[in-house]
Amino acid sequence: MNLLLGSLTIGFILSLLGLGIYISFWIFSFPDMTADGSIVVGAAVAARLMLAGVAPLPATLAGMLAGALAGMVTGIIHTVFKVNNLLAGILTMTALYSINLHIMGRSNLPLLNIRTLSKDAAAIAQRLFGSADINLLGWQVNPLDITQLLLAGGAVMLVALVLYAFFRTQLGMAMRATGDNDQMIRALGGNTNLLKILGLALSNALIALSGALLAQYQGFADVQMGIGMLVWGLASVIIGMALARSNRLGFALSGAIIGSILFRLLVAIALRWGLNPNDLKLVTALFVFATLVLPGVLAKLTGRKKKYQTGVPHHA
């Protein structure tokens, strides 16, 4: 039960990463490599500030802001200096590695003995449920785990709603249109470069937020915590998109979140039955493959003829 609660919580936290990647990769068709760096920058800035005595919430928001800056840098390198989009992201990510080391002062910062959002959650849990374990469907569960899950879930829902509302404003519409067809937007007199920079800033702010929350949840920030995050984030988003089968904004956003959670649950199942530790990644990959293929097989079995492709956005 605790494994389930923990995996759901991490799934929610990393679904912010999924949403960020959805914005860059899906909306802007921009394979943004900054993610590996910006998830750490969020964690690093938040951790450093909290260690310096800043309250957790402002520190987390500052981490988010740092991520936005990183995204803007990538955007500027790409649009103003006309550097290839992949390379622009790689440049920022590489630079961030050193910057993150400087921010933290060393390669990892333990957060066990200071006030973090996790500690705040513990205080809330204490008030809501008391300090004793509570009985959930027959399992003894630590109230802190439930509170963290509820808070993480609530935060993600809030962010998703804000994003939904934002992408329906004029600016948001323009952003989505830029990704679809930037020549058209330019022809209409829109500044696509500015829109791209803003979009990347937004994307990386979400990724940094995810990093800041993850660091507080697991109790430390580490300069290596970003390695591979982009790849797994992409995998989560693609799972989600394959399931959602729709480009309508609401479904796409929900798909990104669902994909992230599903992915973490699959990892948890693979861990639970972790046979030989060396096989873990293989098992994870097989699970993900099965999840992607299963809906298609099911559709075929139920006799629907309509074909759809897995994992490829219509306009990518």
């Binding site: 494994l3 389930l4 390669s107 003995n113 993850l214 949840y217 580490d222 290596q224 729709s246």
Partner: protein, 684 residues
């Protein structure tokens, strides 16, 4: 729209499915009503053998009565390491904990616990106490009814008179007996009073030498010997007890026998030890504890004197004695254990049986690494030495995170769920994850450079609850000493490391400072992956470095061959803190042996498996240094390894290991002199 909804529905369905799978796999952990496990704390004043025996007897009896630790009972074991202030804080911790009962062994533990328990009034059972009525805990011999209702136990008055009678039986001419006793201990005083009585009865002069602290014991013994005693007797005294082997040795050098009230001292060279069988004493307390847990009121248990006697005799020391002491055959026959010249003891008569319940230990680490493998090897061996043999009464679950940091917390969490007895994180990131995620299971870490830096505590004794383990910092001072001796004229040493590894950064910083003091500069190049190592090494050579030193950096070690190739071509020595690198081309390797760090962690794990709480087990720094030298490479570089290194940083335990494979790579034959000196020769 509909399709989208279907998709979301499918996604939610899959999430639900995963949840159900995870929950079903966890079904057996479902508990209906709240758990009925009761917590029992066992508190020992020190790790003295006889207290350990008592505790073991108690635990074994509880288990036999169907109250199994880890199943029906949560057992927490505390030891104050013979430190009175520590004992006070342990007692306070127990009184404030959720313990349903406390069991103490030894008089000091009884006293401090009784004081701390005054308000909480939880059932308190005691044993291995010489005279509970003299302990000042509210018990009175004259008025047994007037006593704290929550306190019960047994007294075990040492068979003092019997020991003197035995001594007299062996040597009727015995006239003068000496004793060292600690005036601050009530039980010691009680024994001495009895001894005075029996000596008067038998016409023996008792030469007393009172002491207050353990530091006075040696002088007191010397004074006794100078006053011509014919034998020394040691009663039940916690302070003197710990110094007994030393007293016995001094007495034997003077040709004087020692007789003791703890049988176990016969193994240390006492002529005879007559005392209580403390395993049985513990078992008797265990019986009472089980009664109370089953509902009997402690006040209804009379405080009795229980002395299951046990005699150990040591005939091996007879030739060393000045006077003639012959032990009559009937007496020998009545001894439970005789240590003779052919049977020199060593084996304790009673071995604890832990086979009843199979223990489960979870080990997890960052990623595959030969260093970890050897750490695990040492860990398993250490546990086997402690009686926990894999496949028999212990099971290991081993996981690693494939070098993916985001999976570490999930592994820690899964372990915490898995009903393990101990979780052992190896490597720093795993320790940090365990600190965050593990709540229910004791944690014993190892192969961590700096546990304090990782946030496990403020210092080695004052640390987070539920966590203990071994820190192993590499022998950096020795590394610097080797470099300065190998290359006295050098000005620049180069190093390559990955700044994202906290341990490497710290080691590099320290070595840079130490080298600066010796007038050398450390040129540093950082890398993020092993692919950059070759270029980095070339850059160091270009900068004019006269040697390359590599700490135990995981990235640099992974691509050591690349660095070696550059150093070999540039004809400069390569010094490593990872011992395995001697086989990868390092000229000199000096490092800690991971096997020993694993083995040391096993000792702590065994204590935790026996029920001791990690809260009061201090962290230990275990760094068994080893130096390995590739003589062939030194010859090629025309360098000599000084046998005597600088006085400020002596290299102890210098060991020579030889790798003929490396020598062959240079087309060199190893001279027999080198091979003969080698402690171990790697097979080619």
């Amino acid at each position: 729209m509909l399709k989208g909804l279907q998709g979301i529905g499918a996604g939610l369905f899959l999430i639900g499915l995963c949840c159900v799978i995870l929950l079903l796999s966890d079904w057996h952990r479902r508990q209906g009503p709240p758990p009925e496990k009761r917590t029992v704390s066992i508190f020992l004043f020190s790790d003295r053998d006889l207290l350990e025996e008592s505790a073991q007897g108690c635990i074994d009896r509880l288990t036999a009565r169907g109250l199994r630790p880890g199943r029906e009972l949560i057992l927490r074991r505390y030891s104050a390491n013979a430190d009175m202030s520590m004992a006070n804080s342990v007692a306070k911790t127990i009184a404030e904990s959720d313990s349903a009962m406390v069991i103490t062994f030894s008089t000091p533990a009884l006293q401090v616990m009784a004081a701390a328990n005054r308000h909480r009034k939880m059932p308190h059972l005691f044993g291995t106490v010489t005279d509970p009525f003299q302990s000042g805990v509210g018990l009175s011999r004259a008025n047994p009814a007037a006593r704290p209702a929550w306190l019960a136990g047994i007294g075990t008055f040492q068979p003092v008179k019997e020991v003197f009678h035995l001594a007299r039986q062996i040597r009727p001419e015995l006239r003068r007996v000496g004793v060292v006793w600690c005036t601050s201990e009530t039980c010691s005083e009680a024994c001495t009073v009895l001894a005075r009585e029996v000596c008067e009865e038998l016409g023996i002069t008792l030469v007393e030498m009172p002491v207050v602290t353990s530091s006075e014991i040696t002088d007191a013994t010397r004074a006794l010997l100078a006053r011509n005693v014919e034998a020394i007797w040691i009663g039940g005294d916690n302070i003197v007890e710990l110094a007994t082997p030393g007293i016995i040795e001094m007495a034997l050098q003077a040709g004087i026998p020692v007789f003791a009230n703890a049988p176990i001292h016969a193994e240390n060279g006492a002529l005879l030890g007559l005392g209580a069988d403390y395993y049985q004493v513990g078992a008797a307390v265990g019986d009472l504890a089980a009664d109370v847990l089953e509902g009997r009121a402690p006040a209804s248990i009379p405080v009795d004197n229980v002395v299951p006697e046990r005699l150990f005799v040591n005939t091996a020391i007879l030739p060393r004695l000045r006077d003639n002491w012959t032990i009559p055959a009937p007496l020998l026959a009545s001894a439970a254990y005789v240590i003779s010249a052919t049977n020199t003891g060593a084996a304790t008569p009673r071995t604890t049986t832990d086979a009843a319940i199979a223990r489960r230990v979870g080990i997890f680490y960052y990623g595959p690494d030969p260093m970890i493998d050897r750490g695990i090897e040492g860990y398993k061996q250490g546990l086997a030495d402690e009686g926990f043999v894999e496949g028999k009464n212990i099971e290991f679950l081993i996981r690693h995170a494939q070098g993916d940091a985001s999976q570490i917390p999930q592994i820690a969490r899964q372990f915490d769920e898995a009903d393990l007895d101990v979780i052992t994180p190896m490597t720093t990131p795993c320790l940090m994850a365990a600190l965050g995620a593990v709540r229910k299971t004791p944690v014993v870490f190892t192969l961590v450079y700096d546990p304090v830096g990782a946030g496990a505590g403020a210092d080695f004794t004052n640390h987070l609850p539920g966590v203990t383990g071994i820190g192993s910092f590499p022998p950096l001072a020795d590394t610097v000493a080797i470099m300065t001796n190998l290359l006295p004229a050098a000005k620049k040493i180069g190093t390559i490391y990955n700044p994202s590894e906290a341990n490497s950064s710290k080691a590099v910083k320290r070595v840079a400072a130490m080298l600066k003091e010796c007038g050398m500069d450390l040129e540093m190049v950082t890398v993020a992956s092993s692919a950059e190592l070759h270029t980095a090494a070339l850059a160091l050579v270009q900068r004019g470095c006269e040697a390359i030193w590599i700490t135990g950096d995981n990235t640099a070690v992974a691509g050591f061959a690349a660095i070696h190739a550059v150093a070999r071509d540039a004809r400069i020595p390569l010094i490593s803190n990872d011992l395995d690198m001697i086989n990868e081309g390092a000229t000199v390797a000096v490092g800690f042996n991971p096997w020993h760090s694993g083995e040391a962690a096993a000792r702590l794990t065994a204590r935790v498996l026996r029920g001791e709480s990690p809260d009061f087990i201090p962290f230990q720094q275990v760094s068994v240094k080893k130096v390995a030298v590739n003589e062939a490479d030194l010859q090629r570089l025309r360098l000599t390894m000084p046998t005597q290194t600088t006085p400020n940083a002596p290299v102890s335990r210098t060991r020579l290991l030889v790798a003929p494979t490396t020598a062959a790579a240079y087309g060199l034959d190893l001279p027999p002199a080198v091979l003969n000196r080698a402690e171990r020769v790697e097979a080619p």
